[in-house]
Every structure is written in C-alpha cells, then in structure tokens.
Amino acid sequence: MVNPATNYGKNGVQDWIVQRLTAVILAIYTLFIIGTLILSGDVTYAGWKALFSLTWVRVFSLMALLSVLAHAWVGLWTVSTDYIKPPMVRFLFQLFCGVLLFVYVVWGVEVLWGL
C-alpha cells in the first residue's frame, strides 16, 4: 500500500479521473473557441458580445474555468511534489497556485456575467 499522498480527491485514482475528465472538457472548449474565431473571420464587438450573452456559452465558459481549476490543481500538485522538496516552499507554491486559480474563477464569473 502506498501512502495516501493525495491532493484533490480522496486518492490518486480520483485525481487521475478528475484530470482526464477536465482535460476532455478543456479540449472541447479550446476547439470551440478557436473554431469560432477562425470560422467567423473578422470579429465585431456586437457579434462577440452576443455570443457571450448566450447562457450556454457562459455556462460552458464557466465549466471550462472550473475545469482549469481542478485540472491545474492536480497537475501542479504533481509537478511541485516532484521538484520542490522543502515542505514549506512546496506549501507556499501550492498556496500560490490555489489562490491564483481561485481568483481566475471569481474573475471569470465577473467577466462572464458582466458584474
């Protein structure tokens, strides 16, 4: 039995699944945005604004942001446990990442719903 050294979920398998699921969501969202930009040619403010006033686009965008939160949290936890050995430094790095990702979500809600 390995030590339960986990971060997001209750165990490594959950982390693994979370990272895959969020990866798929992020991939679809990325292709959606890039596809929209390519297909629509010159983007106007009115058209762009209209796109982001659709509820499903807002919800989809929020979903992508929440996915970044979970995905990058699991990912950066892995990266930091690999390279940063002093516990305090590692903790501070993870704290920084967590706060940054949280700020992204809050900021994103503000942007998307025009608060």
Binding site: A23, A27, F52, V68, A72, V79, L101, Y104, V111, G114
Partner: protein, 125 residues
C-alpha cells in the same frame, strides 16, 4: 533499512533523453506556462466584453509585435499541451502503449504540434 552502495548518476547533462521523454517534459512545461497564460486570456476576454471602447483598444493592442508574440506563445503552449494531452488520453485507452508505439506517438505529437503552432503563427500575424 540497509543502504546500498550502488553508484548513482544524477548528472542531467549526461543523460540520454529519448524522444518520448522530451515530449513528456514539454507537456509539463507547457502546462505550467498555461497556468499563467489563462490569466492573460481572461484579461483579454474581460477587455473584449467590457465595452466597444475596450474592445477597440484590445484590437489595436493586438496589432503590436509584443502582443502578437505573447498571444502566439500562449497559443503554442496550448496547442502543444492539447496535442500531447490527446496522446495521453489515447494511451490511457490502451492505444499505442508499447515501446514502439510510444516512440511513434512522440513523433506524431511533435510533427502535429509544430504544424499547428506554425499555422497559429501565420494566423496571428
């Protein structure tokens, strides 16, 4: 626990890095870059939606060389991470999980990513 005395060589400059090792570390590096890239993208989305004025300001800002370089950099990281991520997901499904498959996969990832990144550069400029 008994300490064994096997020699350990951790001199990175002497390692040989097979292609899959390189594509893997690039996936990791681009993942970390994206942590900050997302911040830029969110800022851009904010500016693009705020008002007609901020939208126009953003568009003219994106005419600048430095801005284009940053956008291209973020796109490059995203595209690479995306392509290598897809390879990951395929391998998780048990596709190409052999030594040979790993090497082919790494080559495919590099080629596809380079093509997409170049295309993104053309698109941005």
């Amino acid at each position: 626990m008994k300490r064994d005395n096997r020699p350990v060589n951790l001199d990175l400059t002497q390692f040989s890095f097979p292609l899959p090792a390189i594509t893997s570390i690039l996936h990791r590096i681009t993942g970390v870059i994206l942590l900050f890239g997302v911040g830029f993208l969110l800022w851009g989305l904010d500016q693009s939606l705020e008002s007609q004025q901020s939208f126009d300001a953003l568009i003219s800002l994106l005419d600048g060389f430095l801005a284009k370089l940053i956008v291209w950099g973020i796109l490059a990281a995203l595209l690479y991470h995306l392509v290598a991520g897809f390879k990951h997901l395929f391998m998780d499904l048990g596709i190409g999980e052999t030594l040979e498959g790993g090497q082919t996969g790494a080559k495919v990832v590099l080629v596809v990513a380079v093509v997409l990144i170049l295309a993104a550069g053309v698109w941005v400029w």
